[in-house]
């Protein structure tokens, strides 16, 4: 979306309103971030009801402990994304572990497979977040080249930029996206992308 990033002032104000116990603020918070939170949870868990549960948990945590968010550490959006990610991965790990046959749970193969699955889901969710947060021109270029199957020359024409610029955007967009594989802690929701 071409929408500019919400200024940190909005984040601070929101936090103050939540701390004051303003139900209207909780509604606004939901309206702004529910689809982000739900989308991330759904990407990790692949299940509508489970994603609903994570969404409920994320907003409940913020509402109960608005002070857990520190505006100096970065945007509220990134913080919520990281929280949703963490809770969803926890849930995935728990449900996958519970699904293992009692005898299997100790086997190294099962443990390895579980880790692999968790990691794959985690990377996919991070990638979604990166795509949604990257500068709009980069996302538009990737959208044309990948989803609309335009080559970079057509992409350049569609975007009204030079071919050099189209190549640059495609490469930079993919470079940003490739950082989804860097499973640093905390996950890549620093807001830099």
């Amino acid at each position: 979306m071409a929408k500019k990033d919400v200024p940190p002032r909005w984040d601070r104000k929101m936090q103050q309103r939540l701390a004051r116990g303003e139900a209207a603020a909780l509604g606004e918070l939901y309206d702004r971030f529910a689809s982000l939170v739900h989308g991330l949870a759904h990407r990790v868990l692949g299940d509508e009801r489970a994603a609903d549960g994570i969404t409920r948990e994320v907003f409940a945590q913020v509402w109960e402990h608005p002070d857990a968010y520190d505006p100096r550490q970065g945007p509220l959006r990134s913080w919520l994304a990281a929280l949703a990610h963490r809770l969803a991965v926890q849930r995935l790990r728990a449900t996958e572990t519970a699904a293992l046959a009692p005898g299997d749970s100790g086997s190294p193969e099962a443990a390895e497979e579980l880790e692999h699955k968790v990691r794959r889901a985690s990377v996919a969710a991070r990638a979604d977040y990166i795509v949604h947060s990257m500068p709009a021109p980069l996302r538009a270029a990737l959208d044309l080249a990948y989803f609309q199957r335009r080559d970079y020359r057509q992409t350049a024409v569609d975007l009204g930029v030079t071919e050099d610029e189209a190549r640059r955007r495609l490469r930079l967009g993919l470079q940003l996206l490739s950082t989804a594989h860097d499973a640093g802690t905390p996950p890549g929701y620093g807001g830099g992308a």
Binding site: R20, G21, E22, A23, A24, A25, L26, G27, E28, Y30, D31, A34, S35, H38, G39, H42, R43, E48, D52, T55, R56, F59, A60, W63, E64, V123, A124, A127, D128, V131, L142, A145, Y146, F147, R150, D151, Y152, R153, T155, E163, D164, A166, R167, R168, R169, L170, R171, L172, G173, L174, Q175, L177, S178, A180, H181
Partner: protein
């Protein structure tokens, strides 16, 4: 990522890989899109005998390193020409740095997904917010009479965020009942939101908030809407969504602070006035009705409000019926009634039992002869039964009063008057 070091690495390795017969001057020409004719085409054009199929090895383009590097993204996405792809692939065999990057970018392509449908279950909002408030009750709650507006604006906004730019210009016909006949006005999806923004502005100004019409002066819902539409030389676009949404959020926030006392504050609609809490219910009702207009126009599924919200909206309409009846009688549009004397205020009078079925329903006794009278089962002269959503369609002017699917018993004139009065509650 510094281009210089990669260039050096390439210059050393690349020299041996080029075909001898392709000029390799690395000149400025290569920075532009290269135009090397396809070998087969040129041979055919010249009418020469075709060479042996195997005799023509593909000739990779000879491109400078920074161009090859800049092509990596397009290459990974299969978004460059065959010749360029080939040139990149040949280069990857020679240049470790580019090969590493190419591998990373190809993997990144695998992470691109068609975005999933972002339709959130519209009921999820209520469930999530209720779960939150169970854990920590609000110190500043949203008043019960503002909750339907909060929920309906959120539902409409979810629809709006889901439609494309073009759909904002889909034609929509606003319909209402002008007291005697069906009326309508053509606009677009964006025009409907401009209408909601303008009329919600009545509440905003009553609360001392900024008027979305700015300096333009106009009274009443229709005049304000027309003024808003005319104030711009261009038809409204999706840009109208943000001001509408910000205003609706601000209204909910403000009425939460004004608390119960402000319920008596009046909102002027031009020719009548509603107390603030009724006005917020009225705006919730309008928001739902117009959301359905939009949903129908863009072919989007849309359900009725939550039962307890629907009930409050119906209750407002039922409470407004006696005044609407009196208004119609003054205008000569309703029968004078069998007891033309005024029933003293607060006394029971001739009544119609309005039975609304469905989860938002209930029963109301509508005093027929005076807005000041009290509905009374003792003086019940007629009984009308309607489905909750059908009654709302009637009150929105979307169903002509003659055609409303209503079970009827008793005084036919009274029933007719009440159904017409319900339809005349509607406006643009």
């Amino acid at each position: 990522m510094t281009g210089a070091e990669f260039s050096e690495a390439h210059d050393g390795a690349g020299a041996g890989s080029g075909d001898g017969d392709v000029p390799h001057d690395g000149g400025a020409d290569f920075g532009r899109s290269p135009r090397i004719p396809l070998p087969r085409a040129s041979v055919e054009d010249g009418g020469q005998p075709l060479p042996e199929p195997a005799g023509l090895p593909p000739v990779p383009l000879e491109l400078p390193h920074d161009v090859l590097k800049s092509l990596l993204g397009a290459w990974a996405l299969a978004a460059c020409s065959t010749a360029e792809s080939l040139a990149v692939e040949v280069h990857l065999g020679d240049c470790g740095a580019c090969a590493d990057e190419a591998r990373r970018l190809r993997e990144a392509v695998g992470l691109l997904h068609q975005p999933e449908s972002l339709d959130l279950d519209p009921g999820l909002r209520t469930r999530v917010l209720e779960a939150c408030l169970d854990r920590r009750p609000a110190r500043i709650p949203i008043p019960a009479w503002a909750a339907p507006y909060d929920a309906e604006t959120a539902r409409l906004d979810a629809l709006l965020q889901d439609i494309g730019d073009a759909e904002w210009h889909t034609p929509v016909r606003l319909r209402w009942f002008d007291g005697e006949a069906a009326a309508s006005r053509r606009t677009t999806v964006a025009g409907v939101i401009a209408h909601l923004l303008s009329v919600d502005g009545l509440v905003a100004t009553a609360l001392g908030l900024e008027d979305p019409l700015g300096e333009v002066r106009a009274q009443g819902p229709a005049a304000r809407t027309e003024a808003f539409w005319q104030a711009s030389h261009f038809p409204p676009t999706r840009a109208v969504r943000v001001p509408w949404r910000e205003q609706s959020h601000r209204l909910v926030q403000t009425v939460s602070f004004t608390g119960g006392g402000a319920g008596r504050l009046g909102v002027a609609y031009g020719d009548f006035e509603l107390p603030l809490h009724d006005s917020m219910l009225d705006r919730a009702f309008e928001c739902w009705v117009h959301a359905e207009d939009i949903a129908e126009a863009v072919d989007y599924p849309y359900g009725p409000p939550a039962p307890r919200h629907l009930h409050r909206m119906i209750d407002l309409a039922a409470r407004m019926l006696p005044a609407a009846l009196a208004e119609r009688r003054r205008a000569g549009l309703a029968s004078p009634g069998q007891t033309p004397h005024l029933v003293p205020a607060g006394r029971p009078g001739r009544s119609l039992r309005l039975e609304i079925e469905g989860s938002g329903g209930g029963e109301w006794l509508i005093p027929l002869d005076s807005p000041g009278a009290v509905g009374s089962s003792e003086f019940e002269v007629a009984h009308v039964a309607l489905d909750d959503v059908e009654f709302c369609r009637l009150a929105a002017g979307h169903v002509p009063p003659e055609e409303a699917a209503a079970g009827q018993l008793g005084d036919r004139a009274a029933i007719r008057d009440v159904l017409f009065a319900a339809a005349s509650l509607s406006r643009m």
